[in-house]
Symmetry: C2
DNA sequence: TAGATTGTTAATCGATTAACAATC
DNA sequence: TAGATTGTTAATCGATTAACAATC
């Protein structure tokens, strides 16, 4: 199991490599890739070294080989489906987010407790919260995005866990108590933005 | 200048402390605060120690004092205004995001190059991209959120920098070239989500 | 006092980076 | 060959955590 930071870098390498490939290049040097991803070239080579990806001392690395190898490591399935719980504005923005498609990631359904928001005929259907548990087990969904109000987050999280969800991207501004081993990624845009103001004011 | 990770922790302490305060408590022990923020109690005490916040060996820390001291460090101004460039769905979701208000953060305007999206009468006005530079200098805005398509990101970033922006939260999936010292926080939800699928599949 | 908690030093841990030999 | 780049080891750096004395 590769650690989080390295996985994030690998995904970014891959995204940049695809772009370079589209521009017609077939090979790339570690220092170029480093520059385009904001890393040091030694970091790039170290990462590749650990993945048993080898380059050529004259012409650098083969881009297609890199992409294939990274995808191999990422163990991408044909379809990577996530559900989203709490269908406010952020949720709807994520449902329409185009970048997901490119990586074979799809948000397959949304859930909400408000009857007015239910709308099973949308491209991404929004279903009643009561149907969530059944949907998760029927469709073997493993990843969920949590965009419910803070006060409901823990309760919904517990349900998700109960239903078999293994990883959660949590936008609710609360620390989730997890007695098991669900992978949780916290996204707190307000905290991040507030920190930017600190650095601006502190300079 | 305090480093980023510590600032992020401080902001989270503060948010949790406010919640505890509302529930009627006036003092808190480091281990409680640690639990509620997902940190170790030694981390909490170490952070406080570096900020010259002292507790009481019998009754822990005074919550009001903690909040005041953290706010003092964060150098919060009365109004912390950010603009947002590229008014797609994510931008609109952020414009309505309630959590910002609580921290005296406001998104004061949006900008877009598409004439159809212009709408100066909204609660958060959406203005033409041409007016951005003038707006930034007139209102002394220092922070911007970048939600334009990837191919426009560098160009818009350069303009923002030119106009006096000092910190950028970038949602566009590209590494920005910055010859100066603008603070950049990258938010890449697709990368984060993709990494979750890795960990789920790799277990 | 006994027990619990703070405050701080020292140890640990892990990740990044520098240095450099190998080699194309 | 000379120059450039890879691949890897060793050094550095910084942050977290363990340990523990002080003390309420």
């Amino acid at each position: 199991m590769i650690n989080r930071k390295r996985i994030i870098r690998l995904i970014r390498y891959k995204n940049v490599l695809k772009r370079i490939l589209n521009s017609g290049e077939e090979r790339v040097f570690s220092n170029i890739l480093a520059e385009l991803t904001g890393e040091k070239s030694t970091q790039v080579r170290k990462d590749f070294s650990l993945l048993k990806i080898t380059g050529n001392k004259k012409s650098g690395y083969d881009i297609n080989e890199l992409i294939d190898r990274i995808n191999e490591i990422l163990i991408k399935k044909d379809k990577n489906s996530a559900i989203i719980v709490g269908c406010g504005k952020i949720a709807k923005a994520l449902m329409d987010y185009q970048n997901f498609k490119e990586e074979n990631i799809e948000i397959c359904a949304g859930f909400d407790s408000n009857p007015k928001k239910i709308s099973p005929s949308r491209p991404v259907p929004i279903l009643p919260l009561e149907d969530m548990n059944k949907y998760i087990s029927d469709n073997e969904v493993k990843v969920a995005i949590l965009t419910v109000p803070a006060r409901f987050a823990q309760e919904v999280f517990d349900q998700l866990k109960e239903s078999g969800i293994l990883a959660v991207m949590n936008f609710a501004p609360v620390t989730l108590k997890d007695t098991g081993d669900v992978i949780i990624k916290y996204i707190n845009l307000d905290v991040e933005l507030e920190s930017l103001f600190y650095f601006v004011n502190a300079r």
